[in-house]
Amino acid sequence: MASFGSKVFLSLGRTNVSGVGFKKTGNRATYATALTVNSSSTNKARGGKGSTGRRPKRGPGEPRTEKMALDQDWTSVYPAATPFRANAVPLPLRMGYPVKRGIPPEKKGNLELIKIPNFLHLTPAAIRKHCEALKPFCTEWPSALDTDAKCDELFPVKIQSTDYVSAGPSIRNPSARVVHMKVKLSSLNLDDHARKKMLKLVGDRYCKDSDILTIKTESCPLRQQNYDYAMYLLTVLYHESWKIEPWEAEKTRADMEEYSWEDSTSQKNILDTLLRINATGEGEEAEVREQLLGREEVLEYKDSVETLKNEEPSESNMLRYKEAVRKVLKV
């Protein structure tokens, strides 16, 4: 991998020979100004050696920012993502840490400006031009699908995948194989049992607030395969949740998703309590229980208990429970 990594830094290796030589010294103050001092001293030295006939050292030409017209087409100067070139960007940029009460170093030979990604090739004018050029590749949006609701209704399953673009020897990126499939459970035809079973099967992948089931597939190497797998999973989940297996009859109270008051300890307790209060002994026990269950306060009590257990406890729930208890126990 190390050998592979070295090939990729083409952007750093090719530009600005002047600045690169100093990046290893770690002395941040030197790279902007030291170069000019060097060249002028060599020129002076050359003046003394002029008699030997050696040509003076080739100095830098003037940067081409001097020649750029004010109304030039910037999108032609930076047409694609390229590293920062100080002689091609006519902005007086400074970047870097100001050492010893100085100022940030200038842009000439500034490695900090070269390291960071720049978006000089994506100015608003460039984006406008690109959009215009890409319009012929697009088709029109169907006019009948003008609201989100209609889209959701007609196309309930939504697929999301990501494409990656980078500069390197290969155009492939393994992260591009990931597929997210989102569907609203309300658009699937599920009855109560099927819905509960489905929720148990998918577990974490369901978001209660938005009622969206998200399936993320990334186990296959290709995006097409992951898409097919996601579709297969959806189909299988749907059919499985409609099937009723014989062992599902063994569902205990601990497996239930919500609290139901029938046959619960709370019902038993309240009925026992009420029976003891009204220990008249008239009629069968079962009949008395039935009668008690039919009573309004008991029903209210049942509602308040269920609300407390199934929803988040809040002030209003507790108050309601308190009221119901008082009514039932006639306190």
């Binding site: 991998m1 592979f4 990729v8 830094f9 952007s11 530009t15 020979v17 002047s18 003046g47 002029g50 003076p56 830098p60 003037e62 940067p63 081409r64 020649k67 017209a69 030039q72 087409d73 999108t75 032609s76 100067v77 047409p79 993502a81 070139r85 002689n87 091609a88 990604p117 460039a126 031009k129 215009e132 890409l134 590749f137 697009c138 088709t139 029109e140 169907p142 006019s143 009948a144 699908l145 007609l154 196309f155 399953v157 939504k158 697929i159 999301q160 995948s161 990501t162 494409d163 990656y164 673009v165 980078s166 500069a167 390197g168 020897p169 290969s170 155009i171 393994p174 186990s219 190497p221």
Partner: protein, 667 residues
């Protein structure tokens, strides 16, 4: 589980591309179609009360269509150097010599790298690139098959190893194996193409034989361009091609074709014609390539114009008899041969064009180039009326995009621009340039030499004819990204500046001259100085001129071998004086003495005036002494003026009054 390759570099993530289920699969067609064909979705069709939902079919395009569309938004950057160079103020070529050096060194580096990759293929087996880039992988250059067989012969032919192939063929013949006709054709083609020599491998050291042959060539053609000789070899008597040809039991037209074309390519013209006679005697019919080769060889076998034309006509007739259909190259070679026939060319070239039209062959740029040369430079009378021809040509070609069909296509633009320059026709020049800017026609400007010719002539035309603002606009557009002007071009620019009296731009032009490397051209610099020093200008212009003059002086100072001339020294002095840089001007006078040049009297009197302005009488005295040292005739006047205008003390007065007398005393 996926391969853990992470790509460092610039990431641009495009998020959230929505696909819909049940969408049509992409069609396999490669063309980028703009069809807006719509298709009903069978499953998801909900008939709304207002309208049905129709999902349009997804358009398909080929792999590069998106990139090409994005590339069409970008134009040429006028200040950028050619793309192959590093875009850095240190590393971009500023003169034409540097341009050539850098591009040649890039090519040689590339060739060296290719050589290393090819000679060590085992080190370069890992292929990172996706999609695969075949030209970066090692090519097989070493022979694999060693046994004597036809496959081994084919391998040698495909690897372009001429001598090894001939050897293998001889071995095959000796061992009695028959070689198929197909292979023999290929072998003959190979030998004739490379003139029986191995093509020079990139980067390999030259062998001894090569050097001997070079010596021979040099002795034979002392004056010619030796680089061309090095590439061009002459057809030797009874070389391998002829030998193999004679050994063949039956020879068909293709064998003859290979030999004749090889002979014509390498200079054995008479032999080519003899072989053609041979072919006719064997009652074979020649193909179009043979005729093209023979027609291009006609000027070398016949010396007189009408004989040449007769031969060409004869060849064309025979072509007709043998029912061989001529192609574009046939007509182009006829025109090229006609170029050497001066007056005949004018008569016959329109006929050639008509023939082409009758056959439905579209003329290429080379055709037009031959015609233009014939009508303008080979005929005795060429006047402005002939520009009509160029106008017609350009009107016909307007807006067309060309591809290169003939190697001489690249000469068209340079010739056309030369015509416009010679006839000083600016409008036609603009028309030619607009033709260059159509589509990909810039590729037909040719190599850097042709390109420099074209743009140099265009720029000269502009300098001659156009207003200075337009000239400067073009200057900023094409210099130095497309053109490195030569000293003549810069002189034309100076002329244009002078004509429109924009001499204030001279210092910037001097900077450009320096960066182009023309600061060692003495006449150019002198012309610049004389233009600057000729008239008086406003104060800040004079300042800039003085700075420029000092720069010129320092440039001259760096080159000890360059000779100063009197005029340049005096111009610099005048410029410095006008900008009131007295001390520096005084240094100039010292320089006069060092270089043994004599300043003019006018210069010294202006010095005196300047001295008066700055009120330095000592200087004035020194001036008079200097003038006497140079034995100038104006010495007495200077002395008089000094006495009159300055306040001198006695000593100075005595010195000066010595010189007041006539100069005979000084002898």
């Amino acid at each position: 589980m996926a391969a853990p390759c992470r790509h460092v570099g610039h990431h641009i993530q495009k998020n959230g591309r929505f696909l819909r289920i049940n969408i049509n699969q992409l069609f396999a067609c490669r063309s980028f179609g703009l069809t807006s064909a719509l298709q009903q979705q069978a499953t998801d069709l909900h008939k709304e009360s207002k309208e049905a939902i129709v999902i349009p079919r997804k358009k398909s395009w080929n792999k590069e269509a998106v990139l090409e569309a994005l590339a069409s938004t970008v134009q040429r950057d006028p200040t950028a150097y050619p793309y192959q160079f590093q875009d850095d103020s240190y590393l971009s070529p500023r003169t034409s010599i540097e341009f050539k050096l850098f591009s040649l060194s890039q090519e040689s580096g590339r060739a060296a790298a290719k050589y290393f990759v090819n000679s060590n293929p085992k080190l370069f087996t890992k292929d990172f690139a996706e999609p695969h880039i075949p030209c970066l992988m090692p090519e097989s250059v070493a022979l694999r098959l060693e046994e004597v067989s036809q496959e081994a012969l084919e391998e040698r032919i495909s690897l372009r190893k001429v001598s090894a192939a001939v050897e293998m063929y001889d071995q095959l013949l000796q061992s009695g194996t028959a070689v198929s006709m197909e292979t023999t054709h290929k072998l003959l083609d190979l030998i004739c193409l490379y003139c029986d020599r191995d093509p020079v491998q990139e980067g390999t050291p030259q062998t001894e034989d090569r050097e001997e042959e070079e010596e021979e060539d040099r002795r034979r053609k002392p004056m010619g361009r030796q680089a061309m000789d090095f590439l061009k070899c002459t057809w030797k008597e009874n070389n391998n091609a002829e030998r193999i040809f004679n050994l063949l039991p039956e020879r068909d037209a293709r064998c003859y074709s290979a030999l004749i074309r090889g002979m014509v390519k390498h200079g054995a013209y008479a032999k080519a014609f003899n072989l053609y006679e041979d072919l006719l005697n064997n009652r074979l019919s020649a193909d179009v390539h043979i005729f093209n080769a023979l027609i291009s060889a006609v000027p070398d076998v016949r010396k007189k114009n009408n004989e040449r034309w007769d031969l060409i006509a004869e060849l064309l007739n025979q072509m007709n008899e043998q029912k061989v259909r001529p192609n574009l190259l046939t007509f182009n070679s006829v025109l090229k041969a006609l170029r050497q026939c001066s007056f005949l060319a004018k008569t016959f070239s329109p006929q050639i064009l008509n023939e082409m039209k009758a056959l439905g062959i579209a003329p290429s740029l080379a055709t037009y180039e031959h015609i233009l040369t014939v009508f303008f430079y080979k005929s005795a009378s060429s006047g402005p009326s002939n520009m009509a021809i160029l106008q017609d040509v350009l009107m016909e070609l307007e807006g067309t995009s060309f591809t290169c069909q003939d190697p001489n296509d690249v000469l068209f633009f340079a010739t056309a621009m030369k015509l416009c320059l010679d006839n000083k026709d600016l409008e036609l020049g603009y028309k030619v340039h607009s033709l260059v800017e159509v589509g990909e026609n810039w590729r037909l400007l040719g190599d850097s030499y042709q390109q420099a010719l074209y743009y140099g002539r265009f720029f000269n035309l502009l300098c001659l004819m156009e207003h200075i603002d337009v000239v400067l606009k073009w200057y900023s557009r094409i210099v130095p990204s497309l053109l490195y002007p030569n000293p003549q071009g810069m002189k034309n620019l100076l002329q244009a500046l002078d004509t429109d009296s924009r001499l204030d731009l001279l210092p910037t032009i001097w900077k450009d001259i320096k960066s182009l490397g023309h600061d060692n051209k003495v006449d150019l610099v002198e012309e610049l100085l004389s233009l600057m020093a000729r008239d008086e200008h406003s104060a800040e212009v004079q300042e800039s001129f003085a700075a420029c003059a000092l720069d010129v002086k320092s440039v001259f100072g760096e080159r000890p071998k360059k000779e100063w001339s009197t005029s340049s020294l005096s111009h610099i002095s005048i410029l410095l004086l006008r900008a009131n840089k007295l001390q520096k001007a005084w240094d100039m006078l010292q320089l006069f003495k060092d270089k043994n040049r004599v300043p003019s009297g006018a210069l010294l009197s202006s010095f005196l005036t300047a001295c008066r302005c700055s009120a330095s009488p000592q200087r004035a005295v020194e001036l008079v002494q200097l003038s006497a040292a140079f034995s100038l005739p104006t010495t007495p006047e200077l002395a008089k003026r000094t006495l009159a205008e300055f306040e001198l003390n006695d000593k100075q007065r005595s010195i000066v009054s010595e010189f007041e007398a006539a100069p005979e005393k000084e002898e």
